[in-house]
């Protein structure tokens, strides 16, 4: 019982698709939800059957409902699912995150009894009608935040996007003003929009700098390239990805990583609903690959990567090669004592650095 494990559950349904989203999701049709939850329970049985040792030796301290749009689902079903997980895994006071779309959250959640989670991540994107219109979204962010207060939810994360056509420093400030006015918003994610119609890089950069400075004044500390949190409110689950720890995932297109084994469920809803638990990816990683992926994920964190920790796990040659590249790119990455981490410039040009660090 000494290793922690994160659990991710992918809810592959949306009311409508957003034009910039790359995640696997389908428009919800009648009758699919029951079938899907039935399949999910079977997958939980199937995976726990196949990973008995893992289950015995680890404790689950984070559960994350992502999507798609998990808030489309009535809370009762998700509560049942947690009960199911409890029967199979050692749950250890887990952080439970619900990813929510403001509109469906307001529709499907009624009172405090519905709150089975302890962290709510609201995909608000923006508070400006014109900007949301460009993304074919509706403006329910403010209402959802007020409702979260009413429900007594104490740990809320808000997602905002940068680079939406029509966005400017004034509208961005307005969005940040609203977010930071809610004392239960403990963390904020600020992602540049990835779409063909995004504003030019120069503007996006200006927005990024502005957001960082604004949030830092309000006590939100940047702990990852795009994530800011108040002290003690770092997302436990996401840290598992970035610190390259183990996570087991359920649902179509969901990726898992256990030790050197990475696998991904087929991105096909029909197959999944019919309980064909096929994989579209099933990789046993080499030492070099694990090393690279660990660096690729770990550099995203401002805390950086501990050299002494790498030394416990990896061959000296692999580490030396990495360090020699890092020394060459001293503008992008700094070594301070036992730790190396990205500089401000390094945050902007992380890909250039990673390409150099890739194994051949």
């Amino acid at each position: 019982m000494d290793e922690s494990l994160g659990i991710y559950i992918h809810i592959p349904f949306c009311e409508k698709r957003c034009n910039y989203c790359h995640f696997f999701s389908k428009i919800l049709k009648d009758g699919q939800i029951e079938k899907f939850f039935d399949a999910l329970e079977s997958e939980i049985d199937y995976l726990s059957q196949n990973n008995k040792d893992l289950l015995k030796n680890s404790f689950v301290d984070s559960i994350y409902f992502g999507g798609g749009t998990p808030s489309l689902i009535k809370p009762g079903l998700l509560k049942n699912l947690i009960r199911k997980l409890k029967s199979k895994f050692n749950l250890s006071d887990p952080e439970i995150t619900l990813e929510a779309n403001p509109k469906s959250f307001l529709e499907n959640y009624k009172d405090k009894n519905d709150v089975f989670f302890n962290r709510l991540s609201l995909g608000i994107v923006s508070f400006q009608n014109e900007e949301l219109l460009k993304l074919n979204r509706e403006n329910f962010g403010y209402k959802a935040l007020i409702f979260s207060k009413e429900l007594g939810i104490e740990n809320v994360n808000v997602d905002l996007l940068l680079g939406i056509p029509g966005q400017n420093l004034a509208t961005l400030k307005n969005s940040l003003d609203i977010v930071s006015a809610f004392d239960n918003v403990k963390s904020v994610s600020v992602y540049p929009l990835e779409a063909s119609f995004v504003l030019p890089d120069e503007m996006v950069l200006e927005f990024m700098t502005y957001s960082r400075e604004y949030l830092s004044k309000k006590g939100y500390i940047r702990y990852e390239i795009a994530n800011y949190a108040k002290d003690g409110y770092l997302c436990k689950h996401n840290l598992k990805y970035w610190r390259y720890m183990n996570f087991l995932s359920f649902g179509p297109s969901a990726s898992s990583k256990i030790g050197n084994h990475r696998f991904k469920r087929l991105s096909n809803l029909e197959a999944y609903l019919n309980k064909h638990f096929l994989l579209e990816e099933d990789i046993r990683l080499t030492e070099k690959e694990i090393f690279f992926e660990k660096i690729m994920m770990g550099l995203r964190l401002m805390e950086g990567i501990k050299i002494s920790q790498l030394e416990q796990e990896f061959d000296k040659k692999i580490i030396d090669r990495c360090l020699s590249v890092i020394k060459k790119f001293d503008e992008l990455v700094k070594i301070k004592g036992d730790v190396f981490f990205l500089t401000e410039k390094g945050i902007l040009f992380m890909n250039n650095l990673l390409v150099e660090l890739m194994p051949d």
Partner: protein
């Protein structure tokens, strides 16, 4: 000897030469249609794809005509301007030639040039108009052109459609009736003309010859006149579709000699072969060592592949006496070779073969002609590489090669051609009307202007109707400067070129702007400059990239992230690092082309 006919086919690219050759082959006893690969005379895939015959080949055909057996030796000739010397040697091996003209196109520049060459050498020409059955054929006009230009009578012209097999019998009949049998004396000392060769890993260099006097047989000791080197003949024979051994080759015949010649440079096209002990009475005229007109640097992208490139060039060299090369180093590109070619087509075909047959990723530096520097002590130095241009203080003058260009075109494009040629520093010589609609315009022009993009510009400006032939006429003094290109303040030696002073500004600006377009953005701003000496003529900046990071982490989907990075890495592999700047490989070759067409 009475029953031998040695002939070749003179035609412009695409006028149907290979198809006609195939049809004549079918009439002989050695091939039937089922065995025939279309265009059998073209041996290499690249030739077949490009529809041009690069290396001459000779085929011996046995034909029974009106009850009598004949031997027809068909000597194929290259159709491109780069190989006009090889054409002249092939023609020298013949008594006659078929002059093949496409009825939809009329006479083209090379057809005229080669036709006149044949007349100079007293060959009998048989005019044939091909593709007469095509709807766009203009037989009457083509006839008139042939009559006006070459002075044939209408009755001499044969109408044919090689593709349909029409006119083939008439052509064979004309070859037999009109072309004289070769003359020569078997008893005289051996005198044989080399008109081609190829390398065979078992027999060494196999030399293609036309015997003019005497005979050659295996065991004989022969001497190559220009080098004085001697060899013992191992085998003689002739080509049907495959080589066929014979006891001897005699005056009038065409065939091959294998004599353990290891180096193809010893078997030079145009040279005379004689018997060591009995020197030839008549050395054959017209021998010229191959003249490299165009040079460029070839570098492997992956520096580990230097030795593979070296082996590959040497293998091509075995079969190509006109390919010259020597090792070269570039600060920008590392180790490579400076290679010399007869012309642009020769260069392009060679490069294509290196890439295709040997799988080498190459960087090709901009092609350059050979300049000459006259030093203060009157010594003349050849400059094969712009970087080797001597310090201006140590030289009296610089010279560049000039060519006489003949352009055939419909008369409506005269203005456009005149303008193009003057832009390319051409000096007008004269103009001649072939008929009311077609003209031939002649210019003297620096070769350096032609090798860049002249041909494609000419095609564009004349909607593809003009054709071109040129001849080297000598070196002329010229006001030349070396144009250097600086990327991120560092001179890129592989991009230096020698240009006329009046063009330096224009070419410099265009190179700089195409580099701006071709080099991707970096983390830092990159200045690009063109300079002559310390004087900057043009400058552009490539603005710095603002960011390059995958902001959104797709949950646990690490593979997606890795794939995006791998794509970026693949792209980077195809780049050449110059200092801190990544330059796409095609930049080096495309830069000058783009510079004058944009």
């Amino acid at each position: 000897m009475d029953n031998i006919r040695n002939f070749s086919i003179i035609a412009h690219v695409d006028h149907g030469k290979s198809t006609l050759a195939d049809k004549i082959l079918i009439k002989s006893k050695i091939v039937n249609e089922r065995k025939l690969v279309p265009q059998m005379l073209d041996n290499m895939d690249i030739e077949r794809e490009r529809g041009i015959t690069i290396k001459a080949r000779a085929v011996r055909l046995d034909i029974n005509w009106n009850g009598k057996d004949y031997i027809l030796n068909l000597i194929d000739t290259p159709g491109h301007v780069d190989f006009s010397y090889e054409v002249s040697r092939s023609l020298a091996a013949c008594e006659g030639a078929i002059l093949l003209v496409d009825a939809t196109q009329g006479i083209e520049a090379q057809t005229l040039a080669h036709g006149l060459l044949a007349i100079d050498q007293n060959l009998i020409l048989i005019p044939v108009i091909n593709k007469v059955d095509l709807p766009t054929a203009d037989v009457e006009r083509t006839k008139k052109e042939i009559i006006d230009v070459f002075g044939f009578s209408e009755e001499e012209i044969i109408l044919a459609s090689a593709k349909e097999g029409k006119g083939i019998d008439e052509i064979i009949s004309a070859v037999i009736e009109r072309i004289p049998a070769p003359k020569g004396d078997i008893g005289e000392p051996l005198s044989a003309l080399i008109f081609d060769s190829h390398y065979d890993s078992y027999r060494g260099v196999v030399v293609y010859v036309r015997i003019f006097e005497g005979e050659v047989r295996s065991g004989m000791n022969i001497k190559l006149h220009s080098t004085g080197r001697t060899f013992e003949v191992q085998e003689v024979g002739f080509f049907r579709i495959e080589p066929e051994k014979a006891n001897f080759l005699r005056a009038g015949e065409v065939g091959y000699i294998a004599a353990n010649i290891k180096n193809i440079e010893d078997a030079r096209v145009g040279d005379t072969i004689e018997e060591e002990k009995r020197p030839a009475k008549k050395i054959l005229k017209g021998f010229k060592p191959p003249l490299s007109m165009v040079f460029c640097g070839l570098y492997p992208i992956n520096t580990d592949e230097y030795n593979i490139l070296k082996d590959a060039i040497m293998k091509l060299k075995l079969n190509d006496a006109s390919l010259v090369f020597e090792p070269e180093t570039s600060a920008a590109l590392g180790f490579g070779f400076r290679c010399g070619f007869l012309g642009m087509l020769h260069m392009e075909v060679t490069i294509e073969r290196l890439k295709r047959e040997f799988g080498i990723d190459l960087i090709i530096t901009p092609p350059s002609v050979v300049f000459e520097a006259v030093k203060s002590n009157k010594e003349i130095v050849k400059i094969h590489n712009p970087l080797k241009m001597p310090d201006p203080g140590t030289i009296i003058s610089l010279r560049e090669p000039y060519v006489k260009v003949s352009i055939f075109s419909p008369s409506e494009y005269i203005g456009a051609i005149m303008e193009l040629c003057s832009n390319k520093r051409g000096n007008y010589i004269d103009m001649e009307y072939l008929d009311t609609k077609r003209v031939i315009i002649r210019f003297e022009m620096p070769l350096s202007e032609i090798i860049l993009d002249f041909f494609s510009l000419l095609k564009t400006k004349t909607k593809g109707y003009a054709s071109l032939d040129y001849d080297f006429i000598g070196y002329r003094e010229s006001d030349l400067v070396r144009l250097d290109i600086l990327v991120n303040k560092e001179k890129v030696d592989a991009l230096s070129s020698i240009v006329h002073r009046s063009k330096a500004q224009e070419i410099g600006s265009k190179i700089v702007s195409s580099l701006k377009r071709l080099i991707p953005r970096h983390m830092f701003e990159i200045p690009i400059q063109a300079a002559v000496g310390s004087k900057i003529l043009a400058r552009e900046n490539i603005a710095a990239m603002k960011k390059n990071v995958l902001q959104k982490c797709y949950g646990g989907d690490i593979t997606r992230k890795r794939k995006l990075l791998e794509k970026q890495k693949e792209g980077k592999k195809k780049m050449k690092m110059l200092g801190d700047v990544q330059i796409p490989q095609e930049v080096f070759f495309e830069i000058l082309k783009n510079s004058s067409t944009s």
